[in-house]
Amino acid sequence: MRILLVEDEAPLRETLAARLKREGYAVDAASDGEEGIYLGREVPFDVGIIDLGLPRMSGMDLVRLLRSEGKKFPILILTARSSWQDKVEGLKSGADDYLVKPFHVEELLARLNALLRRAAGWSKPTLDCGPITLDLAAQTVTVEGVSVDLTSYEYKVLEYLMLHAGELVSKADLTEHIYQQDFDRDSNVLEVFIGRLRKKLDPEGTLKPIETVRGRGYRFAIPRTE
């Protein structure tokens, strides 16, 4: 999952970025609104975290501009102002959720999860596809009730595929949404992850959860059971 993080306060930005990376997100951080709009135009983000009090272009204007340019990824705004008037203004500008500073990072992660899930059309915090269940909050995966041990990157790849279950996901999409900008796209790390996922989820080879669409990408083949 690729996150746009726009926050002008350097210590907060850096701790947040570090924490989000540890959680397996790809993070592009910007320190002001103009950098934010530049990144927002260039990179296909899955979700944005935008502080409202930004130099050069306010967070509210940034959200408005992104929305007016047709960017649909969910946006969570951070604000030090807790009045309802400010909250309503922020949400009216096109944001999807808000968090009042100071906040617990856990709260932020839970909100991001919920936003991503909702954006992909899932209403519950667990993604069920046949026997495979992915718990977004706990970040665990079970097959027929048996927990499967995944590395953080494997989990992220599976999460992205399951969020978009039934859709074709290109390799480029996958790498862009899971890794930082500087990732070497030519390597075959992705194939390795997919191979390992197939083995872990389906050691007998009966479920065939991940389909390879030759030359185009992958598709999570088991339909949603919601």
């Binding site: 807790s82 009045s83 309802w84 008037q85 909250k87 309503v88 949400l91 009216k92 999807d96 959720d97 808000y98 009042v100 100071p102 919920a114 899930r117 909702r118 209403s123 915090p125």
Partner: protein, 457 residues
């Protein structure tokens, strides 16, 4: 009048003086004109009388000689250069009054019998003249008649003297009247503006802290203003007192967590314990700050508030909450009177509805119901407002309600889960002199928060 506006007194005086000047000027001009005309008519009348007197008093001898009257009709006619002159012409006979001696006067023209002429002003070497001339045929015998012409002329000097004497007197009196009127006007103005000056003086005292509010009785036109000023002063005082309380509460309530942190640092506990304790206290301080901040922002005064329709505000908040709680699939129903209005600050209404509705969204399983009713009691009074927010969540047990609403409990000490939001609602309701009740929703089964604002005059 760029930059500064004239004082009321200056405006009044300026207007009054301009009016006065115009009025007196026109009056003076009219009187002046009338007098000049009258003086002209009088002179004409006089000259005509003199001419007739000469006609009547003159004797015609048989030989054709003419004997002018012995006594002239005006003594000036016999003193040289007096400015009043007369002449009688008959055929080749010519007589001039003594006053005309040595003067070139326009007395040469002979008029036809019956002709009567008044002319002037005529410029001559003897000065500007008005001349009355008259022609007549006198029968000397049965067969002979003589044409006689009488000229009487007067210089304008005496008329000019009269007119200028009149003018001097006229303008002197008018000027005096004007000055008197202006002085009177100033006095009247000072008298009628005195209450305003008193308001200013009293306000200065209030600002300086010497007075409490505007006292005394004022003219009817000013009582609305002074009453409003008094209300404003009271609101300001209340606000200051409230802010002082908030500041005090904030400082005091921050002291406890700070003391805990302090003692924890000195306690020699393990790093993890200290960390946990500090974490707790930070959360507590954060709550305190958020609560007191919103208390400070709430204005709560309704003296000058314009009516604020409730429906658009409620719609905005529900739209926001539906976005934030999109994952819960909550159906929020609306029963809001279109004309229901809140008499207060928009921020306060948003805070009130926002906190109540967020609570409901948080606890509801699927349904939230917002009802706003406006109840007009008397046409001259603002309607009473009843706001009800219900949900189908677990509700609040009756024994917890009292604890939840307990007065004087600070935001940081309230029942967990209903947190500072409810404390803010309570403060706002109190500030607007309303009532808050917590009940069980008859329709949805969960909690029902009822806010009631009494009608205000």
């Amino acid at each position: 009048m760029a930059g500064r506006t004239l004082s009321l007194q200056a405006r009044q005086l300026l207007a009054a003086s301009l009016g006065l000047v115009a009025f007196l000027g026109l009056t003076g001009y009219a009187l002046d004109q009338a007098f000049v005309e009258v003086a002209g008519n009088t002179m004409r009348q006089r000259l005509q009388n003199y001419a007739w007197a000469y006609m009547r008093g003159t004797e015609l001898l048989r030989n054709g000689d003419i004997i002018p009257p012995e006594n002239p009709p005006d003594a000036r006619l016999s003193s040289v250069g007096s400015g009043l002159y007369a002449a009688i012409l008959a055929d080749d006979f010519r007589w001039e009054s003594e006053s005309a001696l040595g003067r070139e006067l326009p007395f040469d023209e002979a008029l036809k019998p019956g002709e009567d002429r008044y002319e002037g002003p005529i410029e001559t070497s003897a000065g500007t003249l008005y001349r009355q001339s008259m022609g007549m045929a006198w029968e000397v015998s049965d067969i002979k008649a003589v044409n006689v012409t009488v000229h009487v002329a007067e210089t304008t000097a005496s008329m000019d003297r009269q007119v200028s004497a009149f003018r001097r007197a006229l303008w002197a009196y008018l000027g005096a009247a004007g000055a008197l009127l202006l002085a009177l006007q100033t006095l009247v103005l000072r008298w009628s503006l005195a209450p305003l000056r008193r308001v200013v003086g009293e306000m200065e005292k209030v600002t300086a802290g010497e007075g409490e509010r505007l006292s005394g009785s004022y003219p009817q036109e000013l009582t609305l203003l002074t009453d409003s000023l008094n209300a404003l002063i009271d609101v300001g005082r209340e606000q200051i007192a409230r802010n002082r309380n908030i500041l005090g509460d904030l400082a005091h309530s921050l002291k406890t967590p700070l003391a805990v942190v302090r003692s924890e640092l000195d306690s020699g506990h393990s790093q993890a314990d200290i960390r946990a304790a500090v974490e707790d206290q930070v959360a507590r301080m954060n709550q305190i700050v958020a609560y007191q901040l919103s208390r400070a922002a709430a204005s709560g005064h309704q003296t000058f508030a314009a009516p604020l329709p409730i429906r658009p505000c409620a719609e905005e908040i529900v739209q926001s909450l539906e976005k934030v709680y999109a994952g819960k699939n909550i159906l929020c129903e609306f029963e809001v009177d279109d004309h229901a209005c809140f008499y207060g600050e928009r921020g306060d209404l948003m805070e009130l509805l926002g906190n109540l509705l967020e609570n409901a969204f948080k606890w509801a399983r699927h349904r939230v119901l917002l009802t706003v009713r406006a109840m007009t009691i008397a046409p001259q009074r603002r309607a009473a407002i009843l706001i009800t927010v219900e949900d189908d969540g677990p509700g609040i047990a009756p024994e917890d309600v009292e604890r939840l609403l307990q007065r004087g409990v600070r935001g940081d000490e309230r029942v967990h889960g209903h947190g500072i939001g409810l404390a803010i609602v309570q403060d706002l309701v109190k500030a607007y002199r309303g009532e808050l009740a917590v009940e069980r929703s008859a329709e949805l089964g969960g909690a029902s928060f009822v806010v009631r604002f009494a009608p205000v005059v």
